[in-house]
């Protein structure tokens, strides 16, 4: 069981991820609704894993990832993205994201991603 911080600007997406992660036996310890929020919550909660949406207000997921990685190089972050964000995903991978999942996501895909990185 891993402690997970879910980041997405849509409450809908967070609910869903939380649900899936819960069913996979993980604990969602926090939810962040933008990049800035994620950075703060990461420092506060020290989760084992962060799921990070890319397109968000205030601070987008890639920038947030960079900030988190700067403070904690060992942070495990999985990007969540929709179709058509290839460049940003690549940028995120370069910045140290461990994997990415593409919306709409399936529980199977999330399980796979978690197994690979944890």
């Amino acid at each position: 069981m891993a402690k997970i911080l879910v980041t997405d600007d849509a409450a809908f997406m967070r609910m869903q991820l939380k649900d899936i992660l819960g069913k996979l036996g993980h604990e969602v310890v926090g939810e962040a609704e933008n990049g800035q929020d994620a950075i703060e919550k990461y420092a506060e909660l020290q989760p084992d894993l962060v799921t990070m949406d890319i397109t968000m207000p205030e601070l987008d997921g890639v920038e947030a990832l960079k900030a988190i990685k700067q403070k904690d190089a060992g942070a495990t972050v999985i990007m969540c993205s929709a179709m058509g964000q290839q460049d940003r995903v690549v940028e995120a991978i370069q910045a140290g994201a461990k994997d990415f999942i593409v919306k709409p996501f399936t529980p199977d895909r999330i399980e796979e991603a978690l197994n690979k990185v944890l």
């Binding site: 409450a11 609910m15 290839q86 940003r88 919306k103």
Partner: protein, 677 residues
Amino acid sequence: MDTNQYVEVFLDESRDHLQAVNDHLLKLEKQPQEMSLVAEIFRSAHTLKGMAATMGYEEIASLTHKMENVLDLIRNNELQVTTEVIDVTFEAVEALEEMVASIAEGGDGKKDVSHLLAHLQKIETGETVAEESSENNQSQTTEMELDDYQSTVISQAKEQGYQAYNITIRLTADCMLKAARVFMVFEGLEEFGEVIQSVPAAEELEEEKFDQEFTVLLLSKHNETAIQERLHKVSELESVNISVLADLDNSASPSPNETESKESKQQDEKIEKEDNTAAETKQTTAPTQEKKPSTSKTIRVNIERIDSMMNLFEEMVIDRGRLEDLSKQLGNHELIETVEHMSRVSQDMQSMMLTMRMVPIEQVFNRFPRMVRGLAKDLEKDLELHISGADTELDRTVIDEIGDPLVHLIRNSIDHGIESPEKRKQQGKPVKGTLQLRAFHSGNHVMIEMEDDGAGINREKVIEKAIANGILSEDRAEKLSDEDVYDLILTSGFSTADKVSDISGRGVGLDVVRNKIESLGGHIFVESEPGHGSKFSIQLPLTLSILSTLLVTVSDETYAIPLSSIEETVALTNDQIMNVQQKPVMDFRGKVIPIVSLADVFEVPQEERTEKTDISVVVVKKGEKMTGLIVDSFIGQKEVVLKSLGNYLKDVYAISGATILGDGHVSLIIDPNALIK
């Protein structure tokens, strides 16, 4: 996956995002260079797409996806913001709104959007640099063909203890961002050595010009298992086959230098491109970050809960009144103090609860810019809409109801009020008409004004029509003031449009508007200046259920008069009442106003009327008009809860409802507007 439980959140957020797209599109139309707006629209479309796809609403997902593609091109300066782009995007937003509405009503959110998709596709491909789809002739072979140069590299590497591996990787069929996945594979492999070639070539992999499989040639000192393990960490890979490259035969194809230089050039380009996109995204995100106001924390509460809380509170207000009375009767000081404190607290609670129900009228006004834009196009009129006071707050119930009447009035103004551009030019007016929509607080009311600079209301025409329609007799017509004439257009069975258009004048007159507004406890006034435009003013109560009233007695009965319509209370002596045309009037600050006796209006049984020297009069007003109401005595100010009389007692003259007083008696609440002539 069962998604039903998310539908509500999905709908709420979708509406928010659609509204945001709407607003930003309108702004973008005015400032086509403002890239931060494009970024905002993109973000909303993007979020919508993600949510819709998860919920399985494919039409919404595919439409937003196409929108996103077009927006992305704009964002990257590959496409200009043109009217065409804006128009199509608006159409798309409309379609999305319909689909979301259909889902809200329990439908499946399906709609034929193929023409929109095609149109967006055309924009996406048509005007941009032709996409290199013609180059789709890449070989599907995974055979590795080595040229001289590479052969040399490999043999040299082998001498230094490197092993050459031929690695074939197959992605899963549902892998979506293939290029990013490939990137992860390459990144993993580069930890072990150097990838010296790939099939298809790196550039093609990057553009996703491959099916599921690709092969790379890796030079590494590590063994197969280590590489296998590393690649196992990458998701969405169906299979990884690693084989050691057999000894080389030097029969490879010629022209090694060319390939090499090409490859390095590709690499450069790739890096350059990445730098560009990174820089661009930074540029576009920076301004939005500054602009974004810090959002306060909110929770969504179902309106029903607030409504039932309000109902409970109303019950409490009644009990509060009763407690106040009782404590006064008992005269116990401590009890009085406690009750008074409770009254103060509950008054604060009441105002909190009211503000909780208050929503900015923005919600209603928001849809007008697009509507006006559409109407103006349809009717070939040129006009601008100015909105002010959109942050004025009104009770939720009023907000829900006020939309339709306003739409009706706006349509009316654009259709009948604002003249065609040619006509305006002839009359020496600015070609562009203006329509102003204002909302503001005024005492215990909220005013909404809609003013146009169109033709105004034609008195003669209105009278003619009214007589033709039988709502007015000819001899009365002469006596009517302008104001009364304008009022006629709000009467049922009236329509001044010369020809029936499908925008307004569908036989449904403006009387519908008046009825609606009056049912909300509000009033509508019309002002007009022929040739210069007309103004519709709507006065609405701040809240509907709890009223501040003045309690008065008439004989043994207690009546409540809403404070909001009271101008003043005065005491008259008998000789101050005069008669004009056999009707009693009084002088109120230099104005002669009619007076009526409530006892007569409500036929209150009176004992022998003793001649009183002092007569108590409540002066009530409706707009500019005032009337004095004769009562027996004033009791005082009281907060009361308005209860409707129910369906059995509909349309009781001059009574808007009833309330329960502190002593348990029922008191009728007077609707003074009915008493003002």
